[in-house]
Amino acid sequence: MSRDRIAECFARCRNEGRSALVGYLTAGDPDVATSEELLLALAGKVDILEIGMPFSDPMADGPVIQAASERALEAGVLIRDVFALAAKVNSTCPDTCIVLMGYANVPYALGFENFSEQAARAGVDGVLIVDIPPEEGAVCDHALRKNGLHRILLLSPTSSDTRIKLASDAASGFIYYVSLTGITGAEMGEAAAIEQQVERIRSFSSLPICVGFGVKTAEQAAKVATFADGVVIGSHFVSQIPLHCNDHNAMVTALKKTASAMRDAVRKVAV
């Protein structure tokens, strides 16, 4: 891939004086066809779309995203559907960055070489594997790099300075700062404490920093946008799906509405 859409995206946001909006949905939730509609709707609103690869054992996720994985697997979604959904988003919204997110065993089962080739072909920009820390990068780093995919790494409140350095050296694209000590969907902590941690990471890394886990309201998103390069909304978007499980049009409409509100929130920061 010659274009670095992720770098372009953060440069554009900086020019516009706002944070990037990063949105997550699980691929194939609640089924492949509806998921395509939902992903396209969200892709039109966010700067970076995180597409979750469903996994039977999502250890770092709270009940909302666990249920999303279960719905997708029950609907029979396969990894090739995930790639097809990514490719569809890529052709429809060529300026929206795509990050595949999930757990190690799914790409490992396919083989990281094969996985990375298919992801790159689908127009994916970066990959975030929750349970592959920098120390275990040997299983994936080479394949990702060879295919021009960014390796996005997580940092958390429990990360020491040594670990921040380690992750900064191994990461590319952006750093995903987990705002809380816990699983996805928990309550966001004090914004001031998160800001302090983001500043600590900045002293080690020049990569853009996105903050996620626990951001649920437009107020929270606006607050985080004052100091982070990107704001990640996951469980809050996903939770629209079971709310409207019998009415797919209402589901898409609700998601668009929520995403627009978040998009406005991260714009408010212009200084």
């Binding site: 054992d57 250890m59 349970d131 820390p133 990360s159 020491s160 816990g182 928990a186």
Partner: protein, 410 residues
């Protein structure tokens, strides 16, 4: 004084990141990497501290009841008509299974690290009971995660845990069995690692757990080795243990790794390997990443973890300790599998011939050990780890054998 049979050397260690060959490691979320590092440091530091081991061995002796006996099962050996069968009696420990060796060790470590709360996952409930037991003794708060299905088939153990003051949390997510209990415990720990110690019940999970749990269980094999020498004048020819995650197997087999002893790990074949309903990760799985380590897993082509089946809840796990995977690939380990009905047959055989009711998990080791012994000579010995007693399995066995037992009376 710690008896000299209990070597404190850490032989066959993993590499610095916890890899045993290409297996193991620390495939954990970033939030857990700091706490795992802190745990590793605390473990190594404690392991070098004489007073830690004095406390540990004091409890292993006076609370757990170690050393457990090595019993020459003469009647069983005669019935089988091959090698002499020796049973390592972990069933005679306090709480009735080997699991307590590990919870004493990790409990002491939790205390040393100043943690006030412990959590655990459990399948058969034996590890949950062993954790609740040490939590009661050490005065710690204890939460145990257990798959909903297991809370039903191991109901007596749920009640035991509650009596001991533990909070048992049924897990409904996923397949509602041991792997899901482990997921839920990990989710708890991610949020609570500041004040909570996660006592993993087997040689799985991210580094340092596989190493640490092994080290707390090697007393089994160290004793058995000395007892064999004392009773038979030589080492056993074969040593056999069942494998769920592999803690009783590593405990028994590790001290024999540098000897000329055939080491056999026995997996649960459930309704038969060809039925697809089993828990034989080494025999029928392939390498993958789950619960913090790279190991053999039962999964589909897409890397989704598969449901497992075994008559024994303690073997009903889709993974296996990474060190066993490494030993198998290195040719240090022989593999055997035993079906539900073969295990049940061995359960009956031991009960009738020796008056010992084994756990269904241990019955898998027995079935394999008996099969192996049958093809050997009377001057040879087969050592079998009797990892636990069968009291907890009465409901399951009642359902399967009630008609047969009542019928034979008439």
């Amino acid at each position: 004084m710690i008896d000299s049979i209990y070597s404190l050397d850490i032989s066959h260690p993993p590499d610095i990141n916890g890899h045993f060959g290409r297996f193991g490691g620390r495939f954990a979320a970033e939030t857990l990497m700091g706490p795992l590092k802190a745990l590793e440091e605390a473990f190594y530091e404690a392991w070098k501290d004489e007073t830690f081991h004095q406390k540990r061995f004091h409890l292993l002796k006076n609370y757990v009841g170690r050393a457990t006996p090595l019993y020459h099962a003469e009647h069983l050996s005669k019935e089988v008509g091959g090698a002499q069968i020796y049973l390592k009696r972990e069933d005679l420990t306090h709480t009735g299974a080997h699991k307590i060796n590990n919870t004493i060790g990790q409990g002491l470590l939790a205390q040393r690290m100043g943690k006030k709360r412990v959590i655990a996952e459990t399948g058969a409930g034996q590890h949950g009971v062993a954790t609740a037991t040490v939590a009661a003794m050490f005065g710690m708060q204890c939460d145990v995660y257990m798959g909903r299905e297991d809370t039903e088939r191991q109901a007596p153990n749920v009640f035991r845990m509650k009596l001991l003051g533990a909070n048992v949390i049924p897990v409904d997510s996923g397949s509602a069995t041991l792997k899901d209990a482990l997921n839920e415990a990990l989710r708890d720990w991610v949020a609570s690692c500041e004040d909570t110690f996660y006592i993993i019940g087997t040689v799985a999970g991210p580094h340092p757990y596989p190493l640490m749990v092994r080290q707390f269980h090697v007393v089994i094999g160290q004793e058995a080795r000395a007892q064999c020498l004392a009773q038979t004048g030589k080492l056993p020819d074969v040593a056999v243990a069942c494998v769920g995650g592999g803690s009783n197997a590593m405990g028994l087999l590790h001290p024999f790794r540098d000897d000329d002893v055939r080491l056999v790990a026995v997996e649960a074949a459930g309704h038969g390997l060809e039925s697809g309903e089993h828990a034989a990760s080494l025999a029928a799985g392939r390498p993958g990443i789950l619960h913090g380590n790279l190991t053999y897993l039962l999964e589909n082509d897409e890397g989704q973890i598969q449901g497992t089946h075994s008559i024994s809840a303690g073997l009903d796990y889709p993974g296996v300790g990474p060190e066993l995977a490494a030993m198998l690939e290195d040719g240090q380990l022989d593999l055997d599998t035993v079906t539900d009905s073969e295990a049940l047959e061995a359960f009956k055989t031991l009960t009738r011939s020796e008056g010992i009711i084994p756990a269904l998990e241990s019955s898998h080791a027995l079935a394999s050990g008996i099969r192996i012994a049958a093809g050997m000579n009377p001057d040879q010995t087969v050592l079998i780890n009797l990892s636990g007693r069968g009291d907890k399995d009465m409901n399951t066995v009642f359902d399967r054998l009630h008609d047969e037992i009542e019928g034979s009376k008439a």
